[in-house]
């Protein structure tokens, strides 16, 4: 096992640990094991790029830190835009808190929520203080790396621009912020575990992971544009609700101590900045034992009273034509909605599909005035959602539980067709249509009801693109392969994106001809029907097994 540099650094403080009755050699060993295991965990971002090699012994967490450094660099301009510290610093702390807390939840939950620790270590002659100190140092290291990566750039810039005092104050506040984050995270877990069970908590963590991946990618798209919209001459006016938002407090001390601004709000902000995190961390340490007790619920799955859904079958009965198809439709629906690993890979992309049209719409706004927008062709931006379809549909053959795919072989299924039609229908209804429909409603609000016929063409194109994508991709059974074997089939995906673009182009051209749109819709409708018929004419021989 590797002897980590950080452990050799800790060795220098051995005496301190011995003084507080920590068995140092044992603690060091526990940390070494924990750090080794960290190198074998895959962080949320890395799991997206998914080339997992078994023997690759680098710390995924450390190698994902460049992303945080990059995000941190994006924040530097904030130090230059406003004369008021409060605005810049509150924004910076807001982003820091969000990033650190979500990372903590998505990547470090397995450490915070480890129930094995107790069973493995406390049954051996290890005193609980030694174990808890090891755990605290482990969490501290994680937060330290994260904070330094994220804040490093801004910290150095602040030292140059505003001097040493600013820098020191900033540093102290970052520490206080981390206290607050630890406590808030623990509180979140405690509340969820108190009222729900471990499964619910895992769902929450899953959604935080999905949200984090989404925010990071979309964030990069937005940040650059954001500065175009921010009014640089913002004057900060304290309001009551700002007292409820911790990042705003953190701006207060800068204004109070460095600007000498004795506004009562800033004084209160400063007090809150200092006192709440310290009180929080003390409370957390005090309540640790009861937190641990709640953790025991983690592995419980309270016998769920899943409420029988009202009319669960209506949609499935409408869209499915045969019994077999219905069976696979239901199966695929449950997998799409419930499998966490699948959701983690797919839902962020779904989020992009949702957001893309607006990003391009905003681009258009730079050329066009907001008054002109509703009468134009801006609704065609909806097609930008479509370019995501291929990259999502490609995932449908993967699953974290791919081993369960033995059912396809073991069960007497003569016809392979309903497996795919059922799954594709579930895919369209549960993933494509919700995104498209919400965007349609928003676009109708922007562009008016006149775009409804256009939307019809767009819906038909989306379904058609799904079918073409399915037609082009390798035919593996749904949910039958491991995520470790992902083959992106990039060439095909890019081609399919171009197909999506052509659909949009033809749509645009059709609006230039009288009755063009009507003809386009009719043609699309016919093509859709033919494609449905042709695409799924598959036999077992055409299926690729892995």
């Amino acid at each position: 096992m590797k002897d980590f540099m950080i452990l050799r650094l800790l060795d220098k403080f051995q005496k301190i640990f011995l003084a507080i009755e920590v068995d140092y050699p044992i603690m060091r060993r526990i940390l070494q094991v924990k750090l080794t295991m960290d190198t074998r965990r895959v962080s949320t971002f890395m799991s997206q790029s998914n080339t997992k090699k078994e023997n690759n012994e680098k710390n995924y967490f450390i190698s994902s830190l460049w992303l945080y450094i990059l995000i941190g660099l994006f924040l530097i301009p904030l130090l230059f835009i406003s004369e008021d510290y409060i605005f810049a610093m509150s924004t910076i702390f807001g982003i820091f808190m969000f990033m650190i807390m979500t990372s903590l939840i998505s990547d470090f939950s397995s450490v915070l929520l480890d129930v094995k620790d107790k069973n493995i270590m406390m049954t051996r002659p290890v005193n609980s203080r030694t174990m808890n100190t090891a755990k605290a140092i482990h969490i501290f290291l994680y937060l330290f790396y994260l904070s330094i990566s994220l804040a490093g750039g801004v910290l150095i810039t602040s030292l140059i621009r505003f001097g040493v005092l600013f820098f020191l104050l900033f540093l102290v506040e970052i520490v206080l912020m981390n206290f607050l984050i630890i406590t808030l995270t623990a509180m979140l877990y405690t509340i969820i575990l108190k009222y729900f069970d471990g499964e619910k908590l895992k769902d929450v963590i899953n959604y935080v992971q999905i949200g984090l991946s989404l925010v990071i990618t979309v964030g990069f798209q937005l940040v650059a544009r954001l500065f175009n919209f921010v009014d640089l001459s913002i004057v900060f006016v304290p309001r009551w609700w700002q007292f409820l938002i911790p990042p705003v407090w953190f701006g207060g001390p800068f204004q109070l101590l460095l600007r000498g601004d004795l506004n009562i709000s800033y004084i209160i902000f400063s007090l809150l900045t200092l006192m709440i995190p310290i009180l929080a961390i003390i409370t957390y340490i005090r309540l640790m034992p009861s937190f641990e007790k709640n953790l025991l619920k983690l592995n419980e799955n309270s016998e769920k009273k899943t409420k029988p859904k009202k009319n669960p079958n209506i949609i499935s009965r409408i869209v499915c034509t045969s019994r077999e198809e219905l069976i696979f439709y239901r199966f695929a629906s449950s997998m799409l909605k419930k499998e966490r690993e699948f959701k983690l890979k797919v839902y962020p992309s779904l989020g992009f599909a949702f957001i893309f049209p607006y990003i391009f719409l905003m681009n258009q706004l730079q050329m066009q005035s907001i008054q002109e927008l509703p009468s134009g062709n801006g609704f065609l931006n909806l097609y930008f959602s479509a370019i995501i379809i291929p990259s999502i549909l490609i995932m449908i053959k993967y699953s974290g539980n791919y081993r369960g795919a033995w059912i396809y072989k073991a069960l007497p299924i003569d016809n392979v067709k309903p497996i795919f039609t059922g799954t594709i229908k579930a895919f369209v209804i549960h993933l494509v249509l919700p995104v498209l429909s919400i965007n349609s409603i928003i676009f109708i609000l922007i562009f008016g009801v006149r775009i409804i016929p256009h939307l019809l063409a767009i819906y038909l194109n989306f379904v058609l693109l799904t079918l073409i994508t399915f037609f082009m991709l390798d035919k593996n059974l749904p949910f039958s392969m491991s995520f470790n074997d992902i083959n992106k089939e990039s060439g095909k995906t890019i081609f399919l994106m171009i197909v999506g673009g052509i659909m949009a182009l033809v749509h645009y051209l059709s609006t230039l001809i009288p009755f063009g749109l009507l003809v386009y819709i009719i043609i699309l409708f016919i093509i859709n029907i033919i494609t449905w018929k042709k695409t799924f004419n598959l036999s077992w021989e055409q299926i690729q097994w892995n």
Partner: protein, 263 residues
């Protein structure tokens, strides 16, 4: 009492509550050196709870628990002489068997090289030395169980607490582990294990404890239990726990399979 002076483990009037649910309702037990005790009972009877209390994993019990003649409350040094196989098979499976076993050995205060050698030899005897350096996450259930068993023995403990030690093991391995248990007991180790496999309990225990609903229902050798009621241990178990519906349950079950009607 004379019994007490020789006793390795002594429990008196042990009670434990989880919320309103009283899991242990007064357990009394004296265990001497070299005993192999089979601890049996239906799910939820309190078997694992007892073992967890003995290992100091659970607090808030009432009554007295003494190991090696001393109360275990707030003690950790007695754990150096205990080997534990958890029912939940908790293990750090991102580590290799080598990393895990040396870590556990060092927690017991052994030297790294010494544990490493010992662990490797033990793996060899159980037929899994070729995966010594592989990650435990790639192991089958039986291989994992063997690693857990080895991890409980590295420090040559005087008492073993094994919760479901045989789960996942194949037939040959079960035979080996059974032999290991009797050999350990001959050499003066005390063994306390729980199992659902009655045939095994019947054959290798020299004392059987039957626990149900938080109380000890029967305590004695298999012969002594058989004096009380008839048949195999399985039948005695069913009688004492008042479970005699198995035949009607089974026929109901098959009826549903054949006709599809709920009863």
């Amino acid at each position: 009492m004379e019994m007490n002076s020789k006793s390795i483990l002594s429990i008196s009037n042990l009670k434990m509550k989880f919320g309103d649910n009283e899991v242990l309702k007064g357990i009394n037990l004296e265990v001497g050196k070299g005993d192999i005790i089979g601890y049996i009972g239906p799910n939820g009877a309190g078997k694992s709870t007892t073992i967890k209390i003995l290992l100091g994993l659970l607090e808030g019990f009432t009554g007295e628990v003494k190991i090696f003649g001393e109360s275990i409350v707030n003690q950790i040094s007695y754990k150096k002489r205990i080997g534990y196989v958890p029912e939940s098979s908790d293990i750090y499976d991102n580590l290799s068997a080598q990393e895990y076993l040396t870590f556990i050995g060092e927690l017991y205060g052994l030297e790294h090289d010494q544990v490493n050698k010992k662990a490797k030899s033990l793996m060899k005897i159980l037929g899994i030395e070729d995966v010594y350096e592989s990650r435990i996450s790639s192991f089958s259930k039986g291989m994992k169980q063997k690693v857990l068993i080895i991890s409980s023995l590295l420090h040559n403990p005087d008492i073993l607490f094994w919760d479901e030690p045989l789960s996942g093991l194949d037939a040959n391995s079960v035979i080996v582990v059974k032999e290991i248990l009797s050999t350990l007991s001959l050499r003066g180790k005390t063994i306390f294990y729980s199992s659902h496999i009655m045939e095994v309990v019947e054959k290798i225990s020299n004392r059987i404890l039957l626990i149900s609903d938080g109380l000890i229902l029967a305590d004695g050798s298999f012969e002594q239990l058989r004096d009380k009621s008839e048949g195999s241990l399985e039948e005695i178990f069913n009688q004492l726990t008042g479970f005699n519906e198995h035949q009607s349950l089974a026929s109901d079950f098959v009826d549903i399979i054949e006709t599809g009607d709920s009863i």
